[in-house]
Amino acid sequence: MSPEIEVQLIAVIVAAACALPGVFLVLRRMAMLSDAISHTVLLGIVLAYFVSGALGSPLLFVGAVAMGVITVALIELVGGAGLVREDAAIGIVFPALFSIAVILISRYAGNVHLDVDSVLLGELIFAPFDRVTLAGLDVPRALLIGVSTLAINLALLGLFYKELKLTSFDPGLAAALGFTPTLVHYGLMTMVSVTAVGAFDAVGSILVIALMVGPPAAAYLLTDRLPVMLLLSVLIGAASAIAGYWVAYWLDVSVGGAMATMTGVAFGLALLFAPGRGLVAGAARRQRQRWEFAQQMLALHLLNHEGAAEANEECSLRHLSSDLRWRADFAQEVVRRAERDGLVRREGPVLTLTERGRQAAREASLR
């Protein structure tokens, strides 16, 4: 495989791995926990490094994951006492843990390859240089980690799909049915930590947040069904990853940054063009409703004065402006549309209802 293909493959797999737990974070309104966790794993890595004394040790992975879960527990401890709100608890806990990590690194880890910048920012483009041999295959380490993370997430999702779904949408019912929402919650948090640790090595912690929250938030605008949302999130994440890679390639800029930007673009597109729920669809619907309402008003007005002595006077186009307080051009457009839809007929200057228009007016008056 060429390095270009490898980088894209890693990006797509990491994006997919992040999107799966991200869906549940978004649904449970816990997206900012991804921010906290992806920062504090640094402390886990540092502490595990002091214990193991080696940067390659698997203990670093374990330490980082554990610290992610501990972060959540601390946030709940601080927030759960009822003295500060949960969001304030997040804002207090993770900078504190991050500060400890920074101080520990600068004091005690004098000449180790533990660069705060690279933890926060990551650099996907160098991933193909760090290689491992597995069963005779020479693969980038990041690819191996990414595939493992994705496999773990898929397995956990397959095993606990029902539990995750129920506790996300109706925690009360889940508890009543004998599920333990706390257990599921911490299971999910472990999943988020594993994913953050697995991914941030390759792409940096900030991009982890973008990949965990961006694609699920976009998918949330596109569907009401959980399986579809999961699938869409993975697809949007993968598409953002590839688009980001090529944008970065053409403009010669940071790959991770471009991928994060692309998740934003994907969300923006969903926000604008989501069928039914998007801003464009909303504006179109309001526009349509405006004309429909005006046509109903016209039909009602005509029905009111139908057959009365003043009918000829009241039912002229000119009169609509003063009676319904419509601007002349607006009135003209309403009449044109009503004529097109077969609601009114023009007889000289006088407007008369068709049978269909009369029907529409009666329905509108009953509403």
Binding site: V26, R29, A31, M32, S34, D35, H39, V78, A81, L83, V84, R85, D87, A88, I90, G91, I92, F94, P95, A96, F98, S99, I100, V102, I103, I105, S106, R107, Y108, A109, N111, D115, V116, D117, L121, I206, I209, A210, V213, G214, P216, A217, Y220, L221, A248, L251, D252, V253, S254, G257, A258, M259, A260, T261, T263, G264, F267, L271, R277, L279
Partner: protein, 315 residues
Amino acid sequence: MIIRPYGSTYAFFTPTVPHMHFLTVVFTDYTLRTVALGAALLGVVSGVLGCFAVLRRQALLGDAMSHAALPGIAVAFWLTGQRDPLVLLIGATVAAWLAALLILGITRASRVKEDSALAMTLAVFFGFGLVLLSALQKHPNAAQAGLKTFLFGQAAALVERDLAVMALLGVPALLCVALLWKQFKLLSFDPEYAASLGMPTGFLSVLLTTLMVLAIAIGLQAVGVVLMSAMLVAPAAAARQWTNRLSAMVLLAATFGAGAGVAGALISATARGVSTGPAVVLCLTAITLVSLLLAPERGLLWSAWRRRQAMAIPE
């Protein structure tokens, strides 16, 4: 490879102040005085504005806005080619402000919840900032490292000019809070009532967010993007435990912020390998912990003791 957390500026102090007394150091060492003053100023401004942020349930907005400032810094540098703190701060302010509006817009216009809007805006703006920074690297006088220290905070490198800029942004922000005290108070506790009185709540809310952005812009240079959220949230959360009055809470938060700022600067000046930003944040965390445990009426130990008293009453 040598680690450079937030640059290697903590080395600044080690030769100058090996074993001197704290106070002697404060009054004699010019650099330390500047750093302590800067950290204290930041502590006051972010403490005051953090109170309103916490009361209005916007504790994490500060975190999102501080991350979102990055592209603004990059663009400001790109447009002017200068690394003047004022220019970069204006860029940061504009970008953070846009992010705040965007977050508000997303939550209003769609069914996406606030936490998702915050996390996504934070990460996307930051990512876009990285894109701009990496493009800037090709700029002839890029000094990208300089921008990075700006991003990660470097209180130890503050000079008088930075202090002037901090004061230029911070003092008007504080004055604004003092002038609109009644309005901001009502907005924080009962926005519907404020609106029914005919107050321009939309305008006031945007103004308060703008002031928060100013506090963040000041803080970026000193403590950096990641730790800024603690500067806003921790003093307010700690002060809240001691009082039910807004005026007392704001004053306490400002005191906590300033105290932690000075203490953090002193600690980082005397201890090897402790940079100022993390030291300030840990001081604030300690204050918050003490407040959560000990504050009369609300504190955890206090309420545990009261429960015990209640249990001890003979039946």
